[in-house]
């Protein structure tokens, strides 16, 4: 039996997404594939699997990513899905606890990857929105809502980035005292 759920998570909510996927797995619905906002689950024993998400530096088909994914799979996990540079792994609970990161340095590195993704998108939106604004002033046209949409998106990205920066600060504080 398969179950399809449409659900939207922003990139800066990947921890919430992961938590939700694990709640589903605890109920016996384990992620078997995903695309954009479409999550397909298969029926498994409740709690049979744990799910982890990671943003990679490169596309999952890139040699570097492939070598990493193979490494993770060799530790007993299985890649079930990927979306742009995001990869979704699951591992049987019976094979032990499943984490991708066991120290703050690598947790911060992962946060930095998401932050730099948001920064890139944010800058692009600012340029697009700013350019539109400039054109309105240049031609004296009325400002259209659509043209300003990129600016609104960049504000949203900024808010998301602030959430991640807060998380990062907490981890950095821990990092000053603790290794793991």
């Amino acid at each position: 039996m398969r179950k399809t759920v449409y659900k939207w998570f922003w990139a800066w909510e990947f921890d919430k997404e992961e938590k939700w996927l694990n709640e589903m797995a605890a109920k016996g619905l384990t992620l078997s594939s995903m695309h954009f906002n479409k999550y397909i689950f298969e029926e498994t024993e409740p709690g049979e699997y744990q799910v982890r998400i990671e943003l990679l530096d490169n596309a999952p088909t890139h040699a570097e990513s492939e070598s990493y994914i193979r490494f993770v799979e060799e530790t007993g996990a299985e890649q079930v899905a990927s979306w742009i540079n995001w990869v979704y792994f699951r591992k049987k609970t019976a094979d032990g606890p499943f984490e991708l990161f066991s120290d703050n340095t690598s947790r911060i590195k992962m946060l930095n990857r998401v932050i730099s993704l948001l920064t890139t998108l944010g800058v692009l939106c600012l340029i697009a929105g700013g350019y539109n604004l400039f054109l309105y002033f240049l031609w004296g046209h009325a400002v259209s809502l659509v043209g300003l949409l990129p600016l609104a998106v960049s504000v949203l990205l900024g808010l998301g980035m602030r959430r991640l920066q807060k998380k990062k600060k907490l981890l950095q504080k821990e990092e000053q005292v603790f290794d793991a």
Partner: protein, 110 residues
Amino acid sequence: MANQALTEAVYYILLSLTDPLHGYGIMQNVEKLSGGRVRLAAGTLYGALNTLLEKGWITALPGEKDTRKKEYQITAEGRMALLDEIARLTELLENGKKLFGGKSNAEDSL
């Protein structure tokens, strides 16, 4: 370099690689060595192995061309780093024991 502390992960990885091991073998060995306390996660281990390869402290053993599991082993440089770290840890431990260690001492200082 002798003054720099290794991370717990790096220390246990180096200690595990006196014999060649692949990634999952390292994870299992570290967990066993630490009595289940230290569980290296795959992403963290992968990053640490790549850094250690770059530093030349470990080497990837040439396996078959399409080998599924790459094995790693400590190098002479890695052994030096490990010896330095053991000396550093010994100092930490001895000072800790001397100044804070014995039960009666600890009670006295309270």
